[in-house]
Symmetry: C2
Subunit: 535 residues, 2 copies
């Protein structure tokens, strides 16, 4: 029995065989494959080891480690995603991973995967394809990287198990470029399996738990959904930057090492800095504001943000990617809200229109409702939101902050009433915002601040900041903030600063909520939380 | 004497007045301006305080702090850079900083600056402009932000001191939006002054030393050269990302908090991580390579990189922005060198063609030779470089690494011979590269590694990495690296990994060397070195 088949049993059949038994069989088959590979190598070296002559000699085997000793540029490679009927009857090279292989008598059916795309490769004993070649194919460990030369052939019926359903490759050559270990900690098939709501009732579907995935991220990231998620994440960054750049924003880079905690002493990581100490920035806010005071007018920055918060929830990370922006305005901070709101609208349109394939690939594994938004976005004032909650029977006051459950409920109420997954809440109560938030001069309780939400979860918090050093000092004292400790912050505004507002977005949250995923670790390539610093 | 004039004396004339004397005068004029502002405010409140009636009442004064209480959207603002003769005889609003003001009898000449652009504003006593208005104008502290309504007027002769040389504004209204402190730690005029080689012989030119600049970065960043430098830095990032994205690269984000030093224990910052410790990543290399092992094929990442190196040189920072990329290739790492080389060529073209103004603005302050490059870029093998140095009389061997002085000399030799400021050195000796570098199988001493240079300084280091876990283990042992400690790194390659190569670029170095600046602190907005953690 081929090793790849063994492996399938080992992973799918916990019910069937004992671990001990499986390990024993593993060992035996590991020995077998080594022996076979040796034979194959030898046969490809034109030696005859088998009883019959090998007609495929020189057409298969394990390649020497690629050290750039020769430039085989005559081999023209085709990407698997481009294997289509238009190429029928052509001989092409592909490089991909052996996703599965099943030998049946004189045949071997392989599926070769390249990123999200896959194609069936067929090897059948013939005048030019030897038994030994077939055996070699069936013994290659899953996830090994192979170079295959094959004839593109139309298939009579669609191949459901592959992304390329109308063609298959009839093998001519096969070379192993990089061998995977025989024992895989998780199988791509298992890690890619669609998550269904009634999954638990069907005991046959193996699930891969999150820690196994994250511990073996180099394998887990190969699933079509993960390939798509991180392409979408790159798209969100690109859209954010392109839209803002088109609107006159300048990208800046702000230091992560700072000499004092940016938002008070709580939740900050301390760094040994030569003979002293430094801290990791919890936000780039001071630096964005300094750039405004330094005449950059409109700035954004994309970078790591650190929070030493011991929260083990579905939406907290200790390190995440912040998409931050700050903008000077003439007379009213709504000039800024409008720019941010429109940035989101354009971003949602860009994702919807240009990344359909990626969104669909995620949907094939995770059951997701499409993301809905309005253009221009819905903007409600805080008291309106409180009224919605009170009408729904929630006991909440006009100066209370929104709890996480209330935010989620509000998300559902707004979705039901306005049919949008994105909205802006303006005019938060002053008491629930930091000291540097500009109070609303027309109101005793409100401030010029806002949060933005996706599917009922906050993804941006922002405000008009106080740009007057004297008023800033007054408000800091009112909040009991030690003015000495924030002297550098206040001093930044002493040499003239235009009124300005801005906000900070968590990248991983935006991607998670756009796709409707349930855990932020799914949208962080190498997530960091209080319990995880690896890989 | 008006305060702004006082200030000029205080900064430019250390030879003339004692500090004590200046401080005294400061105080007196500070009192004077307060009094004047009070009068102006009052007069704008329609009260008559002066002996004569104020015909400009309601046309000038200090605005109340902008709290977004009204949306004065009827005021249409024009950017200073767009003030041209086509707008002559129109009344427009501008918002900018008071750069200078000089009162002369019944006139006040002001220069108002907006980012890199400036315009002259003229106030003359007339039927509608009162003496009090003129006095108010002349008393506004430099760097204050003002809203000015004025009539665009063609000037008979060009105004050399402003970017807008063909028009000036004849004042109609002036409102102070944000007042700067009377005492400025540095003057934009001084900080913007062209650096000439024979500067020192001319004692009249005040220079602002680097620490003063960095200590007061919100003011220093307002100089035209600095406005241009950081726009160019944003351009380098944008070009890097756009060029790579067009070439099929995916942007990824790699963690800065890691559980073990990425390049051995030296030069790494330690972080307190809950009850344990973490380290700050010295490079994203392992994570880029994991992304390749995870089938992303071509990736790049832009982010903070940390080096706890106690180097106080012109080109070392403890935190900088890394532009990193990694790419799988088919058979030869030159596939990757070609992509990186072409990325640089396209970047240099993009800067040259689309950022002329910014480059020129830097050149107006710093004497810079234009950056020269070849297309395709010059690529030399390491021994060729050694020969060039030996021919120039340097005693250096074929397996020696290049010292910094030798790199610089080589840069000059290559510039003289090939007329290029950018070049690639391929095939570094294996002994001077890290254990994970792929040896050149054709040579006993060379490796598949390369550095890239701008004006004789290294800006990229890269190589084909070893993608085979067994060979990687062997090489690590050969280098005396504790294999246990890098187990996670080696394990990343156990499940199949294509051959790959890549490199890392320091953003600040690229900008510094492209512009020919002499210190990396000029191209880091808020630089970090062993002695500087603020602002």
């Amino acid at each position: 029995m081929a090793l790849t088949e063994e492996k399938a049993v080992a992973s799918e059949g916990d019910q069937v065989k004992s671990k001990k038994q499986l390990k024993k069989e593993e060992k035996q088959s590991a020995k077998a494959i080594k022996k076979d590979q040796l034979k194959a190598s030898n046969s490809s070296n034109n030696k005859e080891q088998e009883s019959s002559e090998d007609v495929s000699t020189g057409k298969y085997g394990v390649m020497a480690m690629i050290q750039s000793s020769e430039n085989m540029s005559s081999r023209v490679f085709v990407n698997v995603k481009n294997l289509m009927t238009a190429l029928a009857d052509n001989s092409v090279w592909i490089r991909g991973r052996l996703h599965t292989s099943r030998a049946k008598g004189k045949q071997c059916f392989m599926v070769v995967r390249q990123q999200q795309w896959s194609v069936q490769v067929l090897a059948v004993v013939s005048e030019t394809i030897s038994k030994q070649f077939i055996k070699f194919c069936s013994n290659i460990s899953k996830e090994s990287i192979v170079d295959i030369k094959g004839n593109v052939t139309k298939t009579p019926t669609k191949i459901d198990s592959c992304s390329q359903q109308d063609v298959e490759l009839h093998i001519e050559e096969l070379w192993v470029v990089s061998q995977a270990a025989n024992q895989l900690p998780l199988l791509i098939e298992d890690a890619s399996r669609p998550i269904k709501l009634d999954d638990d009732q069907d005991g046959l579907n193996i699930k891969v738990n999150q820690d196994t995935r994250l511990d073996n991220r180099v394998i887990d990231l190969r699933t079509p959904a993960n390939q798509a998620i991180f392409r979408l994440e790159a798209a969100v960054c690109k859209l954010f930057r392109d839209i803002l750049t088109d609107n006159g924003f300048v990208e800046i880079h702000t230091p992560k090492l700072i000499n004092a905690p940016s938002e008070g002493g709580a939740n900050v990581f301390t760094v040994s800095y030569f003979k002293g100490s430094a801290y990791l920035a919890q936000s780039p806010q001071l630096y964005k504001q300094m750039a405004i005071a330094a005449d950059f007018d409109r700035v954004f920055t994309v970078g790591a943000v650190f929070r030493a918060e011991d929260s083990n929830t579905h939406r907290h990370l200790t390190e995440f990617v912040g998409l931050d922006m700050e903008m000077a305005f003439k007379y009213h901070y709504h000039e800024v809200i409008d720019v941010i709101g429109s940035t989101f609208t354009q971003m949602f349109k860009g994702l919807r229109d240009n990344y359909k394939t990626e969104i669909q690939e995620v949907c094939q594994q995770y059951q997701v409702e499409p993301f809905k938004f309005l253009d221009p976005p819905l903007k409600l004032e805080f008291p309106t939101a409180i009224n919605l909650l009170r009408e729904a029977g929630v006991d909440v006051g006009y100066e209370d902050d929104l709890s996480t459950p209330n935010e989620k409920l509000l998300g559902r109420l707004i979705k039901a009433k306005y049919d949008t997954d994105f909205y802006i809440l303006d005019k938060y109560p002053l008491v629930v915002r930091p000291f540097y938030t500009m109070p609303d001069p027309e109101s005793k309780v409100a401030s010029n601040s806002y949060d933005m939400f996706m599917r009922g979860e906050e993804i941006l918090s922002g405000a008009q900041r106080i740009h007057d050093p004297n008023f800033l000092t007054e408000r800091a004292k009112h909040h009991g903030v030690d003015v000495e400790k924030i002297a550098a912050y206040i001093d930044a505004f002493r040499y003239g600063c235009p009124p300005h507002a801005g906000g900070g977005i968590g990248l991983e949250r935006v991607v998670m909520l756009y796709l409707g995923l349930d855990n932020i670790r799914k949208t962080s390539m190498f997530p960091r939380d209080p319990k995880r610093l690896t890989p």
